[in-house]
Symmetry: C2
Subunit: 224 residues, 2 copies
């Protein structure tokens, strides 16, 4: 009935040296063999519980990353995006801290390449448009949610978290109002007896996401 | 390679007597023949330019509605949602004013049934979950966008538009701040020399969406 190619693709975003970067992998088969592209693969109806399950499987198999915070971005479709024929790709985006990406980079056989999202080269399929939409969504959602916390690592100080938000939103935030908004969302807890360094090497309390907030976003009624 | 059923479904929402209603149609074939469900259909790779094109075609064929404001909601997938096998449905939602639905109701052979979204009966497939997500998205987006304008008809007074926003957001809005926010989005224009009725039968200026704002949402930096 339908001859439609059904795939998932993943936009894996991280912050490195204050710049938003996307993870690309060399494709291991045609079309576009050996060209850098988003990690992706076919949906396997016989084993995947749903498209999200396919995305998690692909992420684990190809990027060796398990269970990050994953959101469905959108589905891209049409006859021209894949030279093999009419295709659709259900795209998920995931935010991972640079520690996790670098850990994987050291162990993995498939080399992840991080590329600054503002300096993307030509990419196969419609991957450039996909990344553009993911970056827009992330930047927009950063204004009123806990989404950026997933880029801050497991433990972080409030100044570190503020720098993550600022890097995503592209501007300085007021410290007092930033802290009030974070506390309003109620998703952070102190890490007992652990301190990091704030400005001028003063010790600063370390925080982490509360367990019940790790898989669901917290939202602000009014943005930052 | 993949035996995946690829469909689109449409959540068509309207406001009737202040209540948000969803358009359902009796299914004309198995599974669930003669049962009310969301309008939907297979993607036709040979004729549809993309999933959005399939959604517009289905909407026209089954609900006789052309070119409304359409947004992709999400893709629902898995082995259990359709008795025919592993399936995915790319879901779009559309907002249409009650005038348009009723015009179609009078002419169409397929009878659209409007059901209050808060009083839904059991529906086939995962259509209840789909409608729930569409309603959440609409209510959430109403807070900071021009989205509700698509429910207000072609021409409307500001008090009428405010009642649409209030019906969606479930609470009263301050008139002065509502008007300031509408003006901030800049999407309305006066309809020359046309007046409707405001409270106590005083005449009130009629407005409509500016042509350049009919296909793209206007957004507020800070919500209503």
């Amino acid at each position: 009935m339908n001859q439609i190619i059904c795939t998932v693709d993943l936009v894996l975003l991280t912050l490195k040296e204050g710049a938003l970067q996307v993870a690309l992998l060399k494709r291991d088969k045609e079309p576009f063999k050996d060209v850098l592209a988003l990690p992706g693969g076919f949906i396997h109806a016989e084993e995947d519980a749903d498209a999200r399950g396919a995305a998690l499987r692909v992420l684990k198999e190809k990027a060796h990353i398990t269970a990050p915070y994953l959101e469905q971005l959108a589905t891209f479709s049409g006859p021209a995006r894949d030279p093999r024929g009419w295709s659709l790709s259900i795209v998920y985006y995931a935010l991972v801290s640079i520690d996790i990406v670098e850990q994987v980079g050291h162990s993995g056989r498939d080399q992840i390449r991080l590329v600054d999202v503002d300096k993307l080269m030509q990419l196969p399929f419609d991957h450039q448009a996909i990344i553009g939409m993911a970056v827009d969504r992330l930047r927009n959602k950063s204004q009123y949610s806990s989404l950026p916390c997933y880029l801050a690592g497991e433990n972080f100080t409030l100044p570190q978290l503020q720098r993550v938000y600022e890097a995503l939103m592209g501007g300085e935030l007021n410290k007092v109002s930033f802290r009030r908004k974070m506390s309003e969302m109620g998703m952070l807890e102190e890490v007992d007896g652990r301190f990091g360094l704030a400005g001028a090497h003063r010790p600063a309390q370390l925080y982490r996401l509360r367990p019940e907030h790790r898989e669901h976003l917290s939202l602000l009624e009014r943005g930052l």
